[in-house]
């Protein structure tokens, strides 16, 4: 139903998540969760038993799916598959690293934010000189 409706209607897309249980629960409560006809979810709950392989597969699946616009990924999960996240360079879907409850957010690990910081500091130095 949902899958078929989305093909003609390109203007609506999903947000997918790879995160710990609490974060996913919170966002599911907000209503981003989706289950398609094959009972596939648009989120992956990562706990201590989840293997890196499973995360990799989920990441690859979410980034190649047509109807997903944004992939939210907990930063500590992103660190597990850092090489995949760093090598990903397509604009859509956008990969967003989010902080999780148990792990403090470290902006130096974020692939995009490190670049932003680098450019931003260079720019602020330049503008300060003016």
């Amino acid at each position: 139903m949902a899958g078929r409706a989305q093909i003609p209607n390109k203007s609506s897309a999903l947000i997918s998540m790879i995160a710990d249980e609490d974060t996913v629960t919170g966002f599911l409560l907000a209503g981003v969760g989706n289950v398609d006809l094959r009972r596939k979810t648009n989120y992956l709950i990562v706990d201590s038993k989840t293997t890196v392989k499973a995360i990799e597969d989920a990441f690859k699946e979410f980034t190649t799916k047509e109807d997903i616009a944004i992939v939210l990924i907990s930063q500590y999960v992103a660190n597990m598959i850092r090489f995949l996240v760093d090598s990903y360079n397509k604009p859509v879907p956008a990969i967003l690293e989010i902080p999780s409850k148990d792990h403090p957010y470290d902006p130096t690990h974020d692939s995009v934010l490190s670049r932003v910081k680098y450019l931003f500091s260079a720019e602020s130095v330049a503008s300060g000189r003016r």
Partner: protein, 261 residues
């Protein structure tokens, strides 16, 4: 530099010179336009950069609020609320719409979220803690709002970065490769044309010289012929041989020359 000696392989003609000049004009205009585009993109890029930094900072706060709200909800409604939520997932009620924004010919994707249909979690926590659950829901929707904004900023950032790189590469290619090459070609053609002109001038001079010499020769022969005639006349009048007349004439002319001395 290796770029200095490069030029296009062309036949040095006036037509080609006109063509090259036209191409140089085109390249200059294209360079100016691309430079403008690059500047416009850079301005936009800086704006987005600033926004990203501030949004990332606010994301931390919003996420904190969201997870704290979830903890509250869990405390009031019991730990098993997450099972209820996980079981209730069917179709997404909160979706993302993407549209494109055009900045100096670069299409930037912009995301915005919208709610589609009512939420399935309306009855979650009906037994107890319903209000906390709804608060938690609101907090998470807010978090999604910030995250969606951040995602569109980030996507724009990546796209713009790419576009700026491409544009700058084009600007530099035009400035450092195409334009010098055209200029070199133009100067080559000009030099070649000048050379041809000099050669032509030299040839004309030479021909003039030949002509002058030919005219002089003709005059000489005419003079000789006239002298011959005079000698003949003299010989006929005085009844002497032509040779004697010649020597008489030459003697007379020599004497005349002596008189001058």
């Amino acid at each position: 530099m290796s770029g200095q000696s490069q030029r296009l392989t062309v036949v040095p003609t006036v037509t080609m010179l006109g063509m090259m000049k036209a191409r140089l004009v085109g390249a200059t205009r294209g360079h100016a336009l691309l430079k403008k585009k690059s500047d416009a993109l850079t301005v936009q890029f800086r704006l987005i950069l600033k926004k990203i930094v501030s949004t990332k900072e606010s994301m931390g706060d919003v996420m904190k609020t969201a997870s704290f709200a979830l903890t509250e909800a869990k405390y009031v409604a019991g730990e098993n609320i997450k099972h209820v939520v996980l079981e209730n997932v069917q179709n997404a009620s909160l979706k993302v719409r993407s549209r494109q924004e055009n900045i100096a010919g670069v299409r930037l994707p912009k995301f915005e979220y919208f709610t589609d249909g009512e939420t399935k979690n309306a009855l979650t926590g009906l037994a107890r803690g319903g209000q906390q659950v709804q608060l938690c829901r609101a907090a998470n929707v807010k978090a999604i709002e910030v995250l969606v904004e951040l995602a569109s900023l980030q996507t724009s950032f990546l796209t713009l970065d790419d576009a700026i790189k491409t544009t700058n590469r084009r600007v530099n290619a035009l400035e450092n490769v195409v334009k010098p090459r055209l200029e070199n070609t133009i100067s080559y053609i000009k030099a070649e044309l000048d050379e041809l002109e000099r050669e032509d001038f030299f040839r004309l001079k030479k021909i003039q010289g030949y002509k002058k010499r030919a005219i002089e020769k003709q005059r000489e022969t005419a003079k000789q012929f006239a002298e011959e005639q005079v000698a003949e006349k003299v010989s006929l009048q005085k009844g002497i041989s032509i040779n004697a007349a010649h020597s008489m004439l030459s003697a007379a002319s020599e004497k005349d020359e002596d008189i001058i001395f």
